[in-house]
Subunit: 112 residues, 2 copies
């Protein structure tokens, strides 16, 4: 979708989407050379299969809840909870209750 | 305060503090070589004078509201709102309503 990324200093909203969540797709809110911020939509029952990214990431549940697995180690992340991961850690996400999740990726110089 | 930083994969809470805010101090939640996450307490009427950091930052209001100034350009940041700043941008923060603010700082390699 052609939603423009925020500019420096521009205020954007990350309040819970509520009923609008079901009509919303994952969006990139910020993208610069050193950081990327996504609002990830993870509907109940949907799975993002195991993957990793080069840099460190923070993961903040904005609404709903997800099952967040790091390797074979699972934990539940609910609205108002957060974690971070070292670069390269393989993780997978599965929606328990329709969720939106704010993901901040620290981009490594020289990495794609 | 001797609150240990989170470890990779460890879930931590960033729900609004509510009445506990007045007894809470700014804390560093995550600190690694490439990223630092702080929960900044900004009480109503308190001012963090103009300053800048080397790397890019994201600023998310978790509760309350602050007046956020970039140079001479002011905007209000309320709970559920967010912005990012390029590295080196001079900014200042003043509490309007007792607030806690999640600040994520992308640390630049080689910078302090």
């Amino acid at each position: 979708m052609a939603i423009p990324h925020a500019k420096p200093g521009e205020v954007f909203d990350i309040r819970p989407l509520g009923p609008a969540l079901s009509q919303t797709r994952t969006t990139t809110l910020v993208k610069t050379d050193s950081v990327e911020v996504l609002r990830l939509i993870v509907k109940a029952g949907t799975e993002i299969p195991p993957h990793s990214v080069v840099g460190e990431i923070t993961v903040q549940c904005l609404e709903g809840s997800v099952d967040f697995r790091i390797g074979s180690d699972a934990r539940i992340l609910e609205a108002g909870q957060m974690l971070y991961l070292s670069g390269g850690e393989v993780h997978a996400v599965r929606g328990i209750v329709d969720a939106s999740v704010l993901v901040t990726i620290v981009l490594q110089r020289g990495a794609k």
